[in-house]
C-alpha cells in the first residue's frame, strides 16, 4: 500500500492541484501571476469552504427528509448570489438535458437489440 498520505491530505492536494491550474491560466490570460503563497491560500480556503457547503447540503437534504443530497440542495446552497443561482440553475438544466439524451440513446439501442431477437 502506497503511503501517499492520509485521505484528507490527498483530497487537499487534489484541490490544490486544480486551484493551481486555474490560477496559472488566469495569470497567463491577464498577465498577472499569482504567488505560490496566494495559490496555497486560495486552495486552503476552497477546501474549508467545502466543509461549509457539505454541512449545508446535508442539512437541506435532511430538512426534505432525504438521505441523498440532490441538485435541489445545491441550488439552495447557491442562493446568496443571484448570478450564481442562475448559473447553477442553467447547469442543472443542461445536465438534465444530457441525461435525457443518454436515456433516449440507451433506449434506442435497447429497442434495436430486442427487435433483432
Amino acid at each position: 500500500m502506497s503511503a501517499a498520505g492520509s485521505r484528507p491530505q490527498r483530497l487537499k492536494a487534489a484541490v490544490h492541484f486544480t486551484t493551481g491550474r486555474i490560477c496559472q491560466k488566469m495569470g497567463e490570460d491577464h498577465r498577472k501571476e499569482f504567488s505560490r503563497q496566494t495559490v496555497a491560500a486560495i486552495a486552503e480556503t476552497a477546501f474549508r469552504q467545502c466543509d461549509i457547503f457539505a454541512k449545508d447540503l446535508e442539512a437541506f437534504a435532511r430538512h426534505a427528509k432525504r438521505s441523498m443530497v440532490s441538485a435541489e440542495d445545491v441550488k439552495l446552497v447557491a442562493r446568496r448570489s443571484n448570478a450564481l443561482s442562475v448559473y447553477i440553475q442553467n447547469k442543472s438544466e443542461e445536465l438534465a438535458q444530457e441525461q435525457k439524451k443518454k436515456n433516449a440513446a440507451k433506449k434506442k439501442s435497447k429497442d434495436a437489440e430486442e427487435s433483432r431477437e
Binding site: V15, K32, Q49, C50, M68, V69, I88
Partner: protein, 81 residues
C-alpha cells in the same frame, strides 16, 4: 491560441469524496448530479477568488498577485458565497 474547450475543472470523484468526508452522518449520500453541480460551484469559487485578487493587485499597481491582495478580498468573497 488558448484551447478554450479545455476548461479546467474539479474532478467529480474528488468533489464527491471531499464533500462526503465532511458529512456528519454516514447515511448521507451525494447524487451524481449534485456532485457535478458542486464541482462547478467550487470552480466558480476559485475563479472568483483568483479574479478578485487579481483586480485588487491591479488597483494597487502590483504586477504580481500576493497574499495580501487575496486577504483583502476574502471577507466579501465569503459573504457572497
Amino acid at each position: 491560441m488558448a484551447d478554450k474547450d479545455e476548461e479546467i475543472c474539479f474532478r467529480k470523484e474528488t468533489i464527491s469524496k471531499l464533500l462526503t468526508s465532511f458529512f456528519k452522518e454516514d447515511k448521507t449520500k451525494l447524487s451524481s448530479e449534485a456532485a457535478l453541480l458542486m464541482a462547478e460551484m467550487l470552480k466558480i469559487f476559485v475563479q472568483e477568488a483568483a479574479i478578485r485578487s487579481q483586480k485588487q493587485a491591479e488597483s494597487e499597481d502590483c504586477d504580481k498577485v500576493d497574499i495580501e491582495h487575496f486577504e483583502k478580498i476574502l471577507p466579501q468573497l465569503l459573504l457572497d458565497f
